[in-house]
Symmetry: C2
Subunit: 238 residues, 2 copies
């Protein structure tokens, strides 16, 4: 009997995956990863050159990403069926040996693997290997510490309502905002209301080719999925 091993790949630079992740991925016989249908998939791209020639690949293609709003019950129904199906398939594969599931960032921090992890309980042995989060990669890219001394850090998704974003941005020392995409104009207004816009940075593709670090106020256009906004804490420092 094998295990299903959810492995954090880190923020994107393959050199930032852990020694353990590198070893397990290089030796794996079965490697599964999520991707949008018709795309190469970010997770798969990160392990190019790491994955062994013996590996059998399993692309888990999301049945829906942004075509249906997340509030539509149909979105939920389709995704639940997708995770049910893959947890079944991974359980079968694990009966004959370890199966590796590639996870961008850290598997337990806003990751898709969690939806398999919960379904696999009691059916297969599951192991999780943590990874460097995308936000760590992004604040490192700004070359400034995110938290000092007793700073409070708040991590938000830009999908929240504008007033909620503004309230929380005003009530924290350091701020990280994920899932920006088409919510950038709303986030910008919320940061302005909170008095934090002048100190906000936007990092696109942190640690990856094409990395871009800009003042958020200067960013006009649409931003890629791998974008994170940051406001650095200013806490105690000797």
């Amino acid at each position: 009997m094998g295990k299903v091993i959810g492995i954090g790949l880190g923020p994107g630079d393959p050199d930032l995956m852990s020694v353990k992740a590198h070893r397990l991925i290089g030796a794996a016989r079965h490697v599964a990863y999520f991707r949008k249908a018709g795309r190469a998939g970010q997770a798969r791209q990160i392990v190019e050159g790491v994955i062994g020639s013996q590996a059998i690949e399993h692309a888990m293609e999301y049945p829906v990403t942004t075509e249906i709003p997340v509030t539509d019950p149909e979105y939920n129904r389709r995704l639940a069926a997708f995770y049910d199906d893959w947890s079944e398939r991974l359980t079968e594969l694990a009966a004959n040996g370890d199966v590796v599931v590639l996870c961008e960032g850290d598997p337990f921090f806003y990751g898709s693997f969690m939806h398999l992890h919960s379904r696999l309980q009691g059916r297969a042995e599951v192991e999780v290997v943590p990874g460097i989060t995308g936000m760590s990669g992004c604040w490192t890219a700004t070359d400034r510490p995110i938290t000092w001394g007793d700073d409070v850090l708040t991590v938000l998704a830009a999908t929240l309502p504008e007033a909620e974003l503004a309230r929380r941005a005003a009530d924290t020392d350091a701020l990280v905002v994920m899932k920006i995409g088409r919510h950038l104009p709303k986030l910008r207004r919320a940061l302005e209301q909170a008095g934090r816009l002048a100190d906000a940075w936007l990092v696109e593709r942190g640690t990856m080719p094409g990395q871009k670090v800009q003042r958020l106020a200067a960013v006009a256009g649409p931003v890629p999925y791998f974008s994170i906004a940051l406001v650095h804490g200013q806490g105690r420092r000797p």
Copy 2:
């Protein structure tokens, strides 16, 4: 001319340092690390077996840790002099080649290296290698995801006043509390006021030998420095 390279070691398990960290540390000629006077030092212990025989070690011993309260100006004065002194010494070493500074967790997330980083600006070239945070190691140890869907995550230090801890614990989905030590009884009362005590976990020495995962409500005694409290988010899941 060399660089001063602040390297994140991750949460404690040497297998969880990045491929890049492992390579740079193994090849380094000068390796510096913080430690409490008279102790081996956690960072140095993590790299045992990784560091090369050619390495010259520089133990940077804190002049004060908990002997003086952080609110005493003398605490600040002594630490500032310590960081001034070591940034001078590292600048001199870097004139002849790269110098590695070992950092537990991620260097820019509540780390001591930041106090060198700010002082080295304009004097030496500085590079930072991110690492897996201690909190990632701890939530992985609980075998439960920390954030789902649009969950808000708040990261706090237990050094904050009780009322502030309680207010923030009540106003977040997921919670991470660092720097617990002697503040455990206060944190416990704050979590109780916030209605979060029953869902709180305490992880001691996450990913390290002697790792301990317990319900926080069940923990009576003093806890080691490497302890993190967690309340997992319960957000949207298909």
